[in-house]
């Protein structure tokens, strides 16, 4: 009996120590600083968002979003490590503390925001679902797609959106479901379906995989809202604010015309908005627990939002996407960041 009590006491002590060790790293920011790097969850390969390049270096807009956070904390955009995650794993990895930020092409929805113990910090890309269609079918609007066979990738919200859209418009469709995106393209190329549906950001990339890309067109319709953005764990408001304001700083920088090239000159600017952004006036960083010049570091190392966009997905890249909704609010888009003051 005595032995049992000793054993129980021992176990309790051990558990207590573990819990205490856990409680010591109080905030995510402290834990990240202690580790010396940011741990960021990304996709395991999605063109323009996060994909390893020839050198095995991660590139993409989701990747750059993480680099910006690292630049804000450490002043060094390379102090970030990437964990490639599948769609199924992504939320668990964040909940369990394996990663600090999830920047993995994740759509902001009510269910995810409210019931997973997570918070979406903003939107770094406004996406939506669209259609790729064979040119010779002659359809110019998605409303004319009644009775079409549609190639889709399995297990995505794409499938549900498609069903919703056709039901809402009283149309019939025949889905042909594939497991991966390259199989979906193959199915479309070999004529098993008339239409391919996916996020608009990916349609251009998928179209470029066809033997004759000019044989297919992207319809103008967008049938769903897919705001994609970084996600953090709920319950650490400081960390939530940091990730949120890093993106806002990038958007504000574009609006103010501050780029990675002119940022050093801009430091001498008289514009109080720029001064606050770059930390030459008013200590905005301290309110977030960051260095005063965190804005300067982000822009210097990663660039403003427009640079990040153009480098990864904009015109001239293989994805070749117009700014559209992702343009600044002053230029007809909906990218709008609260003021830094």
């Amino acid at each position: 009996m005595k032995k049992l009590i000793t054993l129980a006491a021992g176990t309790a002590t051990l558990l207590g120590t573990l819990m205490a060790g856990n409680a010591m790293a109080a905030t995510t920011l402290d834990a990240v600083k202690q580790k010396g790097h940011l741990q960021c969850g990304v996709t395991s390969g999605l063109p323009g968002f996060s994909q390893p390049d020839d050198k095995g270096h991660w590139t993409g807009i989701d990747v750059d979003t993480c680099r910006a956070v690292a630049a804000a904390i450490f002043g060094d955009a390379e102090k970030v490590q990437f964990t490639p995650l599948t769609a199924k794993e992504r939320f668990t990895a964040l909940q369990s503390g394996e990663i600090d930020v999830l920047s993995r092409n994740t759509t902001w929805t009510l269910t995810r925001d409210a019931s997973l113990g997570l918070n979406f910090t903003g939107t770094n890309y406004y996406d939506g679902q669209g259609f790729l269609i064979k040119k010779d079918i002659g359809v110019t609007d998605a409303k004319e797609l009644n009775g079409a066979t549609v190639c889709i990738q399995a297990g995505t919200t794409t499938e549900l959106n498609l069903a919703d859209y056709f039901r809402a418009n009283n149309m019939e469709f025949k889905p042909i479901v594939f497991d991966t995106s390259e199989q979906t393209v193959q199915g479309f190329a070999s004529g098993r379906c008339d239409v391919l549906t996916s996020d608009r950001s990916q349609l251009a990339a998928l179209r470029s995989k066809l033997a004759d890309p000019s044989s297919a067109v992207i319809l103008p319709n967008t049938i769903s809202k897919e705001p994609l953005g970084p996600v953090v764990r709920q319950g650490d408001d400081q960390w939530f604010n940091i990730v949120k304001w890093v993106l806002f700083a990038q958007i504000n920088a574009e609006e103010l015309g501050v780029t990675s090239e002119n940022v050093d000159d801009m430091k001498k600017s008289d514009n109080p908005n720029i001064q606050r952004l770059l930390g030459t006036d008013g200590d905005m960083g301290a309110k977030l627990g960051l260095p005063a010049d965190f804005g300067y570091k982000i822009i210097k190392e990663v660039g403003n939002y427009g640079e990040m966009y153009n480098r990864n997905v904009g015109p001239g890249t293989p994805l070749d996407l117009e700014r559209g909704l992702n343009a600044l609010w002053t230029e007809g888009g909906i990218m709008y960041a609260p003021p830094m003051r």
Binding site: N22, S44, P47, P52, Q81, T86, Q95, A205, P318
Partner: protein, 360 residues
């Protein structure tokens, strides 16, 4: 009395052989014609695609013209497919491991190679230790390379190798335990084996990567690779135990009794008499399980580890290349074939050499 003559030598006569084997009945004639036609029409285009029209060298995606395969894609990404994110400057460490692996195991195919046996023993004991020091680094002045940077063929080999090295001894112990006369040990081994064997590997990996972190307190994390390695090894050892148990059961009772009659204790009996015979009997089964494990390692893809298939899949969607999915998958298939074929040849070699004459 005429002298007896030796029977006429059977000369190889292609025409006669063909008549006897390929054209002896009307349906064989038909089958031959159809098969020859199919080979004739498919081999040419296949060779064209694989070699003649293919692009091997160049600078960027635009050099891939023509209808052949675009091996340039594999060529340019080869470094990534081999080492994953392992830093360029440190890749010599992986190269040393590749080399040592070859030094330890290639001689096993060559009869009469000096010290072959010792090289094999080194491959099973010394090599894992060297690998444990060399690949992650962090001591002896070696720069630390964390496991999330490992990838490609290197990761595939690590997964398979650790799985094999870990599961064989564990499997032997479990098999012996299952045949033990001590009820607690036997019960434990039976439960362990039956539980792990009843679960598919994909579930084990999901549990290790998705469920386990939820049970652990927040902030306490094992590396993902470590969790996967433990999962694979435990799962594999259950299968291994059953294969070895088959060998143990095939040993005649007389051998056990004779060993006891010589006054050998349990461990010496097993080590000197029973296990050498039992393991020899089940070599094909063991290697079969290894080959299965080697191919099963691709399942780590679903938990976001970049093995060779993962690295290829993550890059074939790159929009700056034309459709290179086929090239990627052919390359992966070739890599797997090389290793699995090697293992299977090795097991046949071993079987021939250790042939005890039990077989009929």
């Amino acid at each position: 009395m005429s002298e007896s003559m030796a029977p006429p030598k059977r000369a190889f006569a292609p025409i006669r052989w063909m008549r006897e084997n390929l054209f002896n009945t009307w349906y064989n004639v038909l089958l031959t014609v159809v098969v020859v036609y199919m080979i004739g029409t498919s081999v040419g285009p296949l060779l064209n695609w694989l070699f003649l029209d293919a692009t091997f060298t160049g600078a960027d995606p635009k050099d891939c013209i023509g209808d052949g395969a675009c091996w340039l894609f594999i060529n340019q990404r080869l470094n990534f497919f081999m080492y994953g994110f392992y830093p360029d400057a440190q890749q010599w460490r992986v190269d040393i491991m590749f080399l040592l692996l070859a030094v330890a195991f290639v001689p096993q195919f060559i009869e009469r190679f000096p010290a072959r046996r010792w090289l094999g023993i080194f491959g099973m004991t010394g090599l894992p230790i060297i690998g444990y020091i060399l690949i992650p680094g962090g001591w002896f002045g070696l720069e630390e390379v964390q496991s999330h940077k490992w990838g490609g063929l290197m990761l595939t080999l690590i997964l398979a190798y650790v799985g094999i090295i870990g599961s064989l001894p564990l499997g032997v112990i479990l098999a012996l335990g299952r045949r033990s006369e001590m009820p607690i040990i036997r019960g434990f081994c039976v439960i362990f084996i039956e539980v792990w064997r009843a679960v598919p590997l994909i579930t084990v990996l999901f549990m290790a990567s998705v469920m386990l972190p939820l049970f652990l307190p927040e902030g306490m994390n094992f590396e993902k690779l470590l969790r996967a390695l433990i999962g694979i090894t435990l799962w594999q050892s259950a299968y291994m135990a059953e294969v070895i148990r088959g060998g143990l059961q095939a040993i005649p009772r007389g051998q056990y009794e004779a060993a006891s009659a010589l006054g050998l204790g349990y461990w010496r009996k097993m080590r000197l008499i029973i296990l050498p015979q039992a393991l020899t009997l089940v070599i094909p089964g063991i290697v079969n399980t290894f080959i299965g494990l080697f191919m099963d390692t691709t399942l780590v893809l679903i938990i976001g580890l970049f093995d060779i298939l993962g690295t290829v899949q993550s890059t074939i969607t790159d929009p700056s290349w034309q459709n290179v999915a086929t090239e990627g998958y052919v390359f992966v298939a070739f890599c797997f074939w090389v290793f699995c074929f090697g293992m299977s040849r090795y097991s046949q070699n071993l079987e021939r050499k250790l042939d005890t004459g039990h077989k009929t």
